[in-house]
């Protein structure tokens, strides 16, 4: 097993390569510039294709082409760039094409700043572009996890023929940790729908346009049943000390990792608190969180934004009488364990 010291961009890129990614297109944007730089070298080494596109719009459409041709393909960017990609992600979903998009979330709105943020939660979990669709969203909290979940994202994208997001942030993009590299994936499911020349078969076409009345509706219902399957099978989360706690802190990504330290400290001082951490932000672990907070008295949601995941926590808490509190740091602010600890005590 190979162990390497990598930052979050490199760790994620290695996860993609282990998963058989053969195509990367991207455009420089801070805080993930290391991603295209690293991929430009690595794609050449493995005989894949790297393209520095003229825009994020073009990057995602190149990924569309690569996915259409049946190759494992990806792009990475940060918030403003991901906004530009929403058109392409909607088309990927409409055409049922598998692809992986890594977002190293930075502060917004607009040009915002280049520091870590979780302000793209709504955009990531509600489809993001036009039309009725969802993307699978995986939220890692370490370099090891962004490696593992990028790998997983390729498998999920292929399994459901759906774009899959890895939602990191500026923190994970820039920090270095040791990472166990996953072994190279060698067996892949066939893609009989791919556009790669109709030798020995009937021509294939990929489209999201259905003009005949009722046909688009049927297509949407087909997508809905796929989304329902994903909601049933692919929920991932972690919880610490939630079974016996009347006070639950809910947080995700790097913010949850910071919060864990605050929760630990509070427990050492006798506060009856647990940490619930969704790993898939869509599908959101409503039922699982609902179970842990059924008898809770207090819920504290901590996010690096103005409060977005809290909407999902409220849905999960529909049958709970717990009071729900929020602590957020928008615009690129990063909470430290001390301030979260103080918030825990305050509520």
């Amino acid at each position: 097993m190979k162990i390497k010291l990598l930052n979050g961009c490199e760790a994620s890129a290695e996860g993609a390569i282990s998963a058989g990614c053969k195509f990367y297109a991207g455009y420089p944007i801070t805080p993930q510039n290391r991603y295209p730089e690293y991929m430009s070298e690595r794609m050449e080494e493995i005989g894949g294709i790297f393209i520095q596109a003229e825009s994020e719009t073009s990057s995602i459409n190149m990924v569309f082409g690569a996915a259409a041709a049946g190759f494992r393909s990806m792009t990475s960017s940060s918030s403003p760039g991901i906004s530009l990609m929403q058109e392409g992600i909607s088309y990927l979903s409409g055409c049922e094409l598998p692809a992986v998009i890594v977002n190293m979330n930075r502060g917004g709105p607009g040009l915002g700043d280049v520091t870590p943020s979780q302000a793209d939660y709504f955009q990531s979990t509600r489809g993001g572009g036009h039309g009725d669709y969802r993307t699978i969203v995986l939220a890692p909290w370490s370099c090891q996890e962004i490696h593992d979940y990028t790998y997983l994202a390729f498998d999920l994208a292929d399994r459901y023929r759906n774009p899959t997001l890895v939602l990191g942030d500026g923190l994970i993009a820039q920090m270095y940790e040791t990472v166990r590299i996953k072994p190279q994936k060698r067996r892949f499911a066939k893609k009989p729908w791919a556009i790669n020349g109709c030798s020995g078969r009937k021509p294939n076409s990929l489209k999201s346009l259905f003009l005949t009345p009722g046909v688009l509706e049927a297509h949407n219902w087909k997508l809905a049943s796929k989304f329902a399957k994903i909601e049933k099978r692919e929920i991932r989360f972690e919880q610490y000390w939630c079974s016996d706690s009347s006070y639950i802190l809910v947080s995700y990504g790097t913010c949850a990792r910071i919060a864990k330290e605050a929760v630990q400290r509070a427990r050492e001082e006798g506060i009856d608190i647990g940490l619930f951490r969704p790993i898939t932000l869509w599908p959101f672990p409503y039922a699982q969180l609902g179970e842990y907070i059924k008898n809770a008295k207090k819920i504290l949601v901590v996010e690096m934004n103005l409060g977005q995941m809290i909407d999902d926590v409220k849905i999960a808490a529909a049958n709970s009488s717990a009071r729900i509190f929020f602590y957020g740091r928008p615009g690129g602010g990063i909470p430290d364990p001390d301030e979260i600890y103080r918030e825990i005590k305050k509520k």
Binding site: K22, F23, A25, I49, I51, A53, E54, S55, T57, S58, S59, N61, M62, V63, F64, G65, A66, A68, A69, F71, S73, E87, G88, Y91, C95, I195, N196, G197, C198, S199, G200, P203, N204, S205, L206, K207, S208, L209
Partner: protein, 249 residues
């Protein structure tokens, strides 16, 4: 009995949705004929635009994918890079290529992507029913320029061949017309040349084809052909802009 003419294998038997006198039917048939003649059908991948030609996946009898509006050159770039021994072409209209997709076409051309681009210029937005296109000619009436295009107000038209001719990545660049039989035959020759360039891995081959849109021009098919000849060909000269070295003109 001897067959002297039939539908090319590269076209499906589907009835197309183009209006009577529309240029798309002629041009798509020419592309299909060339693909048959070069025996490329099972190796060809087409990228359809947004606009009237979006439904070309119903008419072409080979692999076709849709692309978002204007993004066909980006989609084609990835497919050709990953499958270099396939023949990849985009088929785009003037709104698709010369307005919303200008960044994609210029940068695919600048990178010298080894794809063929067939750019159908009919000086109007067809599918949305007749708005001003980037190639609408000064004075031409459209639904968004009801008194005719006035450059001082609506800007000047884009001459795409002239614009692309400065780029080293484009090896073959020609503007053809479909206003008469000889123009149509020249267009077919240009399409063939474009594919041959691609087969030799030379770089981007680009053919702009002047075409009719009788419905949105509010002209009958014959008047439309005449308008292409008398008005469009004056503004958009029919000629070879770039010829690969070592090939005949």
């Amino acid at each position: 009995m001897k067959i002297i003419y039939q539908r090319p294998e590269s076209l499906t038997p589907a009835t197309n949705t183009y209006c009577p006198g529309c240029g798309h039917g002629i041009i798509q048939k020419l592309i299909a004929e060339v693909i048959d003649e070069l025996e490329l059908r099972t190796k060809t991948i087409a990228i359809a635009p947004v606009g009237c030609a979006v439904l070309s996946y119903n008419y072409f009898n080979f692999d076709v994918t849709e692309a978002a509006h204007g993004r066909a050159p980006a989609v084609a770039t990835a497919i050709k890079r990953l499958l270099p021994n396939r023949i990849v072409f985009t088929y785009q209209g003037d709104g698709d290529l010369a307005a919303i997709g200008t960044a994609e076409i210029i940068h695919a051309a600048a990178r010298g992507e080894n794809i063929s681009v067939f750019f159908v210029n009919n000086a109007v937005y067809g599918m949305t029913k007749g708005q001003m296109a980037p190639t609408t000619i000064p004075g031409q009436k459209t639904t968004t320029t009801i008194n005719g295009r006035i450059p001082e107000i609506h800007g000047y038209p884009l001459r795409i061949c002239e614009l692309l001719s400065s780029l080293d990545g484009v090896v073959y660049l020609e503007r053809t017309t479909t206003s008469d039989i000889s123009g149509i035959l020249s267009t077919k020759k240009a399409i063939k040349k474009a594919f041959l360039q691609q087969m030799e891995n030379k770089g981007m081959s680009f053919v702009e084809i002047l075409a009719t849109c009788p419905t949105n021009w509010k002209k009958n098919p014959l008047e439309s052909m005449k308008w292409v000849k008398e008005v469009m060909e004056k503004y958009y000269p029919v000629k070879v802009y770039k010829n690969p070295s070592g090939t005949e003109k």
